[in-house]
Symmetry: C2
Subunit: 299 residues, 2 copies
């Protein structure tokens, strides 16, 4: 087992998109900088989706243009179409994630069109971004289970991943959008997509309490890239039953206990989590956020 894990913090995007309030831009900037100071080297900061559709992320352009110069971390944003690609380039984005749903039901609910059409309209976006020197990654939503269509066929995920690689994606992230995957399902799909020989990431949610089990299974298969949200907040507004992301605090604890390095300072992370709780104004979802103090013998 290699000893390094790359954690991408998605609280600014997946976390805040599911909150009723719109977090002010200056708060997001402060949070992003604090996360980088705590050792995070990869942040998902927003989405170039129509501002009217997800008002919580309407300031993505400003976040990227403010943070991109000089922030020592990879800043990811989501892009769904050519319009989003143009906004990303204009803002000075250097890394973009395409998002496509593996299931028809979620693709229609989330992107307004089926999976094939969603992939088709990424072609122009891919050309623009590649020409502008922007790095491409891809995230396959509902890669394991869909709230509308049920379990997702791994062969379908491989076919979609293959098309995304054809568009220039260097990394494929598999998302358990509603947190309903179980370890055997993770194993089947990860092994199938590993046949494409590209770096893989897992984006886990903890709806059914299985995020850690699913991440552990992926670790055992060699996956070393994980998305998570500090305090475990987040969810997809267009996927009924979606609940919190895997908590960054909980996953980092798992990684460190397993002897895997993340570069993240857990004391600083806990301080930032407290601030996130104040910002969103409700109980957080991660297990660690409920622990008043870790016993001395375990520190």
């Amino acid at each position: 087992m290699a000893d390094q894990v790359l954690v991408t913090e998605v609280v600014l995007r997946d976390g805040f998109q599911d909150e009723p309030l719109v977090v002010p831009t200056h708060e997001k900037l402060r949070l992003a900088r604090a996360l980088v100071d705590a050792g995070l080297t990869s942040l998902e900061v927003g989405s170039f989706v129509a501002p009217g559709k997800v008002p919580q992320l309407a300031d993505t352009d400003e976040l990227v243009s403010t943070l991109e110069p000089g922030t020592p971390a990879t800043l990811h944003t989501l892009v769904f179409n050519e319009r989003g690609a143009r906004r990303a380039i204009a803002a000075g984005a250097r890394s973009v994630r395409f998002v496509v749903s593996a299931s028809e039901g979620h693709s229609v609910a989330n992107a307004g069109v089926g999976t094939d059409a969603a992939l088709d309209r990424l072609a122009a976006a891919a050309s623009l971004l590649t020409s502008a020197g922007v790095a491409l990654e891809a995230c396959i939503a509902t890669a394991f289970v869909c709230p509308f269509d049920g379990d997702t066929d791994p062969g379908r995920v491989v076919a979609i991943a293959s098309r995304l690689i054809g568009l220039g994606a260097r990394v494929i992230h598999l998302a358990d959008t509603i947190g309903a995957a179980n370890p055997s399902r993770i194993r089947r799909t990860v092994k199938a997509v590993q046949g494409l020989d590209r770096p893989l990431g897992l984006h886990a949610h903890n709806t059914y309490g299985l995020a850690a089990a699913n991440v552990w299974e992926a670790l055992n298969l060699g996956v070393r890239r994980f998305d998570s949200s500090l305090g475990g907040i987040g969810g997809c507004p267009f996927a009924p039953g979606a609940a919190g992301n895997a908590g960054t605090d909980d996953l980092v604890n798992l990684f460190h206990r397993e002897g895997l390095a993340t570069g993240i300072d857990v004391v600083k992370l806990a301080e930032i989590r407290t601030q996130v709780g104040i910002t969103v104004g409700h109980r957080l979802e991660s297990a660690l956020s409920a622990i008043p103090a870790v016993p001395a013998a375990l520190r």
Copy 2:
């Protein structure tokens, strides 16, 4: 992988011992009967500990004497000493669990004496119970991590398990009392104790969000007996940092999604969970207790 898992529901003991209120005996009896009606075949209903020490479990004698005749399930109770053994026999108990802490620190806090002395005083209890035809099982607390002493040496757990088998224990349960174990630690200790060739069980807590990952690891090692508490309530009053048990609802979901049979009716289980929430009067800890409804495609 065999296809049957034995779930022991511990809400009546581990769950309620951590609640500030004392649940009335008639409520406990109704809950026990409802659990059996939902398909549970193994319940931990109380502890023959000094009633003054854990008032929440002071009615254990009455629960056992009322339920034992005619209830089609194995009813477990905890016994720490000869006095407890006499109470168990008088109440008509047919199955008893000895509890010993693997770590000195927790043994002193929980049982008032170190591990060796705690084992010594079980000898008389074992003779009494065996002569009375009561089945013996054993639970090793802090088998992975202790809040006072830190990580527990697997060799120590093997030595304690060996002594408990010598006393007549037919099954050894390994308890992650404060929920601080991680999958690799589960693996090391389970594999070490498997050398004794006795049926093993895992008693997981979810303090750090790792219960499902630890249970999944144990499943992969062939463990097929798991303790859990409906709604994930529970904890040890004598172990700082202990929090909720693995939720029965969450584990049963994991087992069923993995194709393992439990015999448990999840619809009835959810109804009983609602009642447990009303009884304890606070938010439950399991992931499933926070989900308003499982999407149709996943039922």
